[in-house]
Symmetry: C2
Subunit: 431 residues, 2 copies
């Protein structure tokens, strides 16, 4: 039974909230055509009530109390766009408990409180949608859950953080060091004043947790995702990568075997002819591998008010359509049992190692012996710069596939060799 | 009210049909989990009844008569995978009229008989889904109709034909001529014995008609799509393109302005740093531009039994879920009125022209004058090879934006200049 009007309450009038309001107020006819109802913005929770002017929101819609959304019987859908874990988590809980449908872009809350929130939504027979939580406007959640439903997904390789991808692109193209590229990103508004969640890989880990949970049907919380940021990378790593035919990207990687899952975020060398290697600037790209579909890549703007509001509005429209059809699509709980996340020490991949060593014969033999003792075989060694004044040389070693634990132990031992001044960096390689 | 079992009838046991049956028979538990019902293959229409052995289909499911699907009350969904316009169109009509839900991968039927079939499905209150008709396993129809619903889509640039993309990739990488690359594609099974629908751009035009109709909400039939194939391209066009910083791709392009639509399939020069320029081999990629979401690209396998069956099964699952929820998602009819397809002569773009001219002073002045008379300005001219024996030189001209009609007239006139031996090729440029 069709409703003439579907009421919407919104909390969080920041960048994405502003973008969402702009669409709700700016495209009423198109939204009504898509849903069969007027989508009416009923209430906006915002402490700064002066914001309404610039956004063209009638002043009387403003409230400072979230409970005003909960208690308004004309509000069917609550949009949570305040971000951060608290109080967003409690707000979403309250909304679901009050039988309000919820749309959120909150990757932190969704990844950390996944099953609790989904169960709550199911219990109260309401929808909980979060397409905007990963990849901004790029359709991912719905395609994973619907279009790829016949597939067993084996792997995800994703660039899901625009800030770090911008910084890495600058480092690669301009030869700048990390600190310079970060400052530039901050000046352009691509990085926040406190950029730690982005550059440390935390934001990407939230997003990977969501994607991997959906793709593999096993709940993966962010604490299970290994994460390592980009601040150790130096301009010379990019030079050497390029010489070797690789690009460096911060990848969020999830892989499934029969009974275990890898979930990790860290810088990766990828061959420069991979499409992901060509994803530059603030763009995101998500490569997913399914048994039927093979390799699929979704590419687009992973952030920004317009792109993200595209996903928020799609979720609202979907719920409104369901309301009018009299059937609510309840969120799906992870169904696969018995798979555990593999400890990082157990993963296997290839490695790039850069070190400063004594510039004299026999050094490489010593290093190779340590690596060999740990079953790590070298695929190539390149001697880069040598400094006659210090008698040191920089060498770059690329290994064949080896186990992380063995590599860590070998690096620890290598570091203690008299001929090794410093292990300057090591980066995993996916090929 | 949930059904324990949902019956499926299939017509067309070719490559995609075989792939679909493999999934239906191979993943029954997963499909039951997704839908809440057993998806049971009830009947397969196939003249060659010896096929069942290799596919593991019980012999008693085979029939040679399509009417056996129509008259079986246990069949809820009919899958049409025979391809081609007839009798597939009549089969789909019959199925809808018999209140069977239909899933098809048939781009020709869908693009040519769009509104008739959609109206018929709506009239009989059944679903008609066709995700597999464009881009194989790449999710497109559902993302366009659902995830991008808040967007005004302004343009689509798509590589939707794997055969031609394979041929163009070979020509670019190996420097082979068209005939050689085509033969190679045929030997590898990437091109059919009669490859005309692929290489002439007809297949891409069907797919573009479908995507543009959905994206713009205006019915665009294939006869409205300009199409030009790839057989005029020569190895030297790829060499010159590369020197100028371009790749050559067969693009399906649709653009919308307020009251008109461009819809065209033809070879295009695109800057080599565009992601679409990196899409090689049989892969497909669809670039869509929305007012909110900006640029989105979907990349994956556009053909093949597994990838395509991924989309067919997703459609079946979606219908089965709807059946169990007691609500059918009826196909949407195009809603936008008043937009017409712009004649090809009216489009504006940049052009690459290659010609053989007399190798003497003043020739370029004559050609420039003709182009100038038609308001076409030259952005660069390169003299390529010169042949002392014939006194001829090959020149390549790149123009600024110009109108197609003017370019065609100018080329016609240029051809009649005494100093011009031949207009060897011209290709449109998108940048």
């Amino acid at each position: 039974m069709r409703k003439n009007s579907i009421g919407i309450g919104l909390t969080g009038l920041g960048v994405i909230g502003g973008g969402t309001v702009k669409v709700l107020l700016g495209k009423p006819e198109a939204l009504a055509r898509s849903t069969g109802s007027q989508l009416v913005l009923k209430r906006v929770v915002e402490i700064d009530t002066t914001k309404h002017g610039a956004m063209g929101i009638p002043r009387n819609l403003f409230t400072t109390k979230f409970s005003d959304l909960l208690n308004d019987p004309d509000i069917d859908i609550i949009i949570e766009l305040i971000g951060g874990e608290h109080p967003a988590f409690e707000y979403i809980q309250d909304a679901l408990t009050h039988s309000k449908h919820v749309v959120t872009a909150n990757k932190e809350v969704m990844s950390k409180h996944w099953s609790e929130l989904l169960s709550l939504a199911r219990k109260h027979n309401v929808a909980l949608r979060y397409e905007a939580s990963v990849g901004g406007g790029i359709p991912l959640i719905a395609p994973f859950q619907e279009d790829l439903i016949a597939n067993d997904i084996s792997a995800i390789y994703a660039i899901v953080n625009g800030t770090t991808n911008y910084i890495l692109t600058q480092m690669a193209k301009e030869g700048t060091d990390f600190a310079v590229a970060l400052k530039q990103a901050q000046e352009l508004g691509y990085a926040e004043a406190d950029p730690s969640k982005d550059i440390d890989g935390v934001d990407a880990a939230y997003k990977l947790a969501i994607l991997a949970t959906i793709a593999f049907g096993t709940e993966i919380t962010p604490d299970k995702v290994y994460n390592e940021g980009i601040s150790r990378l130096q301009a010379r790593d990019f030079r050497y990568a390029k010489e070797l035919g690789y690009a460096i990207k911060l990848l969020a990687i999830a892989k499934r075997t029969d009974n275990s899952i890898e979930a990790r975020v860290h810088p990766v060398f990828i061959p420069e002819d991979f499409l992901l290697a060509k994803v530059d600037g603030v763009y995101n790209a998500i490569d997913v591998e399914g048994d039927l579909v093979g390799k699929l890549i979704f590419y687009g703007q992973g952030a920004g008010p317009s792109a993200t509001s595209s996903a928020v509005i799609a979720d609202i429209v979907s719920i409104a359509q369901d309301i009018n059809r009299g059937t609510i699509t309840l969120p799906k709980l992870p169904s696969a049992k018995g798979r555990t996340v593999k400890p990082m020490s157990e993963i296997e991949t290839r490695y790039y190692m850069r070190m400063n060593v004594a510039d004299k014969p026999g050094v490489l033999a010593q290093i190779s012996r340590v690596l060999g003792d740990h079953n790590i075989s070298i695929s190539s060694v390149i001697q880069k710069e040598r400094d006659p004044s210090t008698q040191l040389a920089e060498i770059v070693i690329m290994t064949h596939r080896a186990r992380e634990k063995a590599v860590q132990q070998a690096l620890e031992e290598t570091q203690h060799l008299a001929v090794v001044k410093e292990i300057s960096n090591f980066v995993r390689v996916e090929a």
